[in-house]
């Protein structure tokens, strides 16, 4: 991944990452009885994890994890194999597609469905890195609902006292299933909580990938330089239900319309056109190429060997 996030290569890479995430979600949403899409949250996942280099650790939140898998170099065959339980699944079908990050690529897989333990053990990855004198940084993402768990607060506190090289990112889609997080948090931003633990922290526009990327880079650079942890509360919106069968009647039409107009992919396309003078044709060429690649790979993987008791 190009270091300078404003370079043309970096821009195309971010665009492709968001498209891969969106298009895989669309396919899963359409084909599976139950799916937990990250529609609208792509700028957070791709922006926050986009600057990691080899040797860094990624601890993604479950929602939107596939975009992070792709950023870390898992192939579409592997990601889709995880979704369709084919032998290209890195866990051999033992984990769901969303949970099966490849540990060899320094992604912490979610081997439990319980929220919280990955945030805390992710903190331990960074602790070992500091003690062993490595230069790796760990980016840990979690939802706004998860943010209320005690284990998260304990970990943020420890990250600070041990000065750990961590960027915490709250993938704040404003909901935990049907619960509006504002009703369940004592502050209006998770960043205020983090400030209470004396971490540099801020709330940012999570639908603007350039803003997410810039905030993430600041935190990652600080961590790498020995300056300890940072927390970024990336405010975004879950465009739809918790899972595909949830019609999200508890969301208001007003907020839905407001956030649809802030769709991070559309916004990035506008940015590419208006601020970087990239043509609509070029943008749609990339879009078509990614779409074709996702669908062709999907069909290829679908036709490949399934996991079975015999090939475990």
């Amino acid at each position: 991944m190009p270091k300078d996030e404003t370079s043309i290569d970096a821009l195309w890479h971010m665009y492709e990452g968001m498209l891969v995430s969106r298009m895989l979600d669309e396919k899963c949403f359409q084909d599976f009885a139950e799916w937990y899409p990250a529609f609208g949250e792509e700028a957070v996942t791709i922006g926050a994890f986009g600057s990691l280099v080899d040797g860094d650790f990624a601890v993604p939140h479950y929602r939107g994890s596939m975009g992070v898998f792709w950023l870390r170099g898992m192939s579409l065959e592997e990601i889709i194999g995880g979704l369709l339980f084919r032998t290209s699944s890195v866990s051999l079908g033992r984990l769901s597609g969303l949970h099966g990050g490849d540990f060899e690529k320094q992604i912490l897989p979610s081997v439990t469905n319980v929220l919280g333990p990955n945030v805390s053990s992710g903190t331990g990855l960074a602790m070992a890195e500091r003690i062993r004198g490595g230069s790796g940084v760990t980016v840990i993402a979690f939802g706004d609902g998860t943010a209320a768990l005690g284990t998260l607060h304990e970990s943020v506190n420890m990250a600070k006292i041990y000065k750990l090289p961590i960027l915490f990112v709250c993938q704040n889609n404003q909901y935990s299933i049907s619960s509006r997080s504002s009703k369940f948090h004592s502050w209006d931003s998770v960043a205020s909580w983090a400030a209470g633990y004396n971490l540099p922290s801020s709330q940012i526009d999570g639908n603007d990938i350039m803003a997410v990327r810039a905030a993430a880079n600041e935190g990652i650079d600080r961590a790498r330089a020995g300056g300890g942890p940072t927390l970024v509360d990336a405010l975004t919106f879950r465009m739809g239900g918790h899972l595909s069968t949830d019609k999200a009647q508890y969301q208001s039409d007003e907020e839905r319309v407001k956030w649809e107009s802030k769709d991070p992919i559309k916004r990035f396309e506008e940015y590419l056109q208006n601020s970087r003078q990239i043509s609509v044709t070029e943008i749609s060429q990339v879009r078509e190429r990614v779409q074709r690649n996702v669908l062709e790979t999907w069909n290829k993987v679908l036709a490949s060997e399934a996991v079975s008791l015999a090939n475990q």
């Binding site: 139950e34 339980f85 299933i177 049907s178 369940f184 475990q312």
Partner: protein
């Protein structure tokens, strides 16, 4: 007596509804239990009837919420704590196993905690939370663990759980949740805790089960009946402390024992039952346990389906005993 055909889920809700109407001290704590209708629709209609003051939504903070509920139960209320899934029981194990269990005995009966921790567990159409944790809760004295195997049992057991003056963990099997409906009496009724049910009597073999495996045993017993093997089914209903008398008496009669549960075999409920029975009864055949293999539960259906005892497993095990 009038009745209505209900799913297991609906039967639990009906029990809670009637009891909340009767007893103003019952309140419910949990995530998404309000307008949304609860995880897997487990609280549908309750918020509309009892509102925010008695149906209290919480943050994602299970450990704190369970301790909160325990404290509330020590000060005059009878909370039902809704833990979204049984996968989260280990997260609140400390509060259950070192606080709730100890209160009555250690305080010499002065501090009692009348709460129900309600959760749902095991595999099912909703595939996200497949694990079964009841054995973990059974190792420590002082906790009552209940798992209904049918809608009728679900209602009556929930009523007793809510009326108990000590903690009850009530685990609803996801597999049966929206499953076969049954005629459930409309009036409120209680099925006592610690007492097993015998939904089928027979003289040849005792099939001990609870939760989803009740249905497995029923289907297996029907098949075996056609081959001339007469099965007796013992549905524990209360997994811990289980009904020794009913289990032992049945085993004395049939002198053959099969136990099936979805939880792991190692140090499981089945091991306790087999040890108890073999200590008291001379069996004519070696007892058989059917349970999940000692591996984490994989996600891919083809792998996961291999971790649950099936009707064929039971038929095969019983047939083996007679050869």
């Amino acid at each position: 007596m009038s009745s209505q055909r209900l799913t297991l889920r609906e039967a639990v809700i009906e029990a809670i509804d009637l009891e909340m109407e009767r007893d103003p001290n019952i309140v419910m704590l949990g995530q998404d239990i309000g307008e949304f209708g609860g995880p897997l629709q487990s609280t549908m209609g309750l918020w509309e009837r009892y509102g925010d003051s008695r149906i209290i939504e919480t943050p994602v903070a299970e450990q704190g919420v369970v301790a909160l509920g325990i404290g509330m139960s020590l000060n005059g209320l009878r909370p039902i704590i809704d833990l979204m899934f049984a996968d989260f029981l280990p997260l609140v194990a400390n509060e259950l196993l070192q606080l709730a269990t100890n209160l009555n005995y250690m305080s010499n009966g002065k501090a009692r905690a009348p709460f129900v921790l309600r959760t749902r567990g095991g595999d099912g159409p909703y595939r996200a939370h497949p694990q079964n944790m009841e054995a973990l809760l059974s190792n420590i004295p002082g906790l009552c663990v209940v798992t209904p195997g049918s809608p009728v049992a679900a209602k009556g057991l929930m009523v007793s759980a809510m009326r108990s003056d000590d903690p009850v963990v009530y685990i609803e099997p996801i597999f049966l949740y929206q499953g076969p409906k049954e005629a459930v009496p409309t009036e409120q009724y209680a099925i006592p805790l610690g007492v097993a049910a015998v939904p089928r009597t027979g003289g040849d073999v005792t099939l001990v089960c609870y939760g989803r495996t009740v249905r497995v045993m029923q289907l297996a017993a029907a098949k075996l009946g056609k081959e001339g093997i007469d099965c007796e089914i013992v549905d524990l209903q209360t997994v811990t402390p289980f009904d020794r008398e009913t289990v032992i008496n049945s085993a004395k009669k049939t002198r053959r024992l099969v136990v099936a549960h979805d939880a792991w075999m190692n140090c499981g409920v089945g091991a306790e039952i087999v040890a108890t029975v073999t200590g008291e009864v001379d069996l004519a055949a070696r007892p058989i346990r059917l349970a999940a293999p000692n591996l984490p539960i994989a996600y891919a259906p083809v792998l996961r389906d291999n971790s649950r005892p099936t009707v064929d497993n039971v038929v095969e095990a019983v047939t083996r005993m007679f050869h």
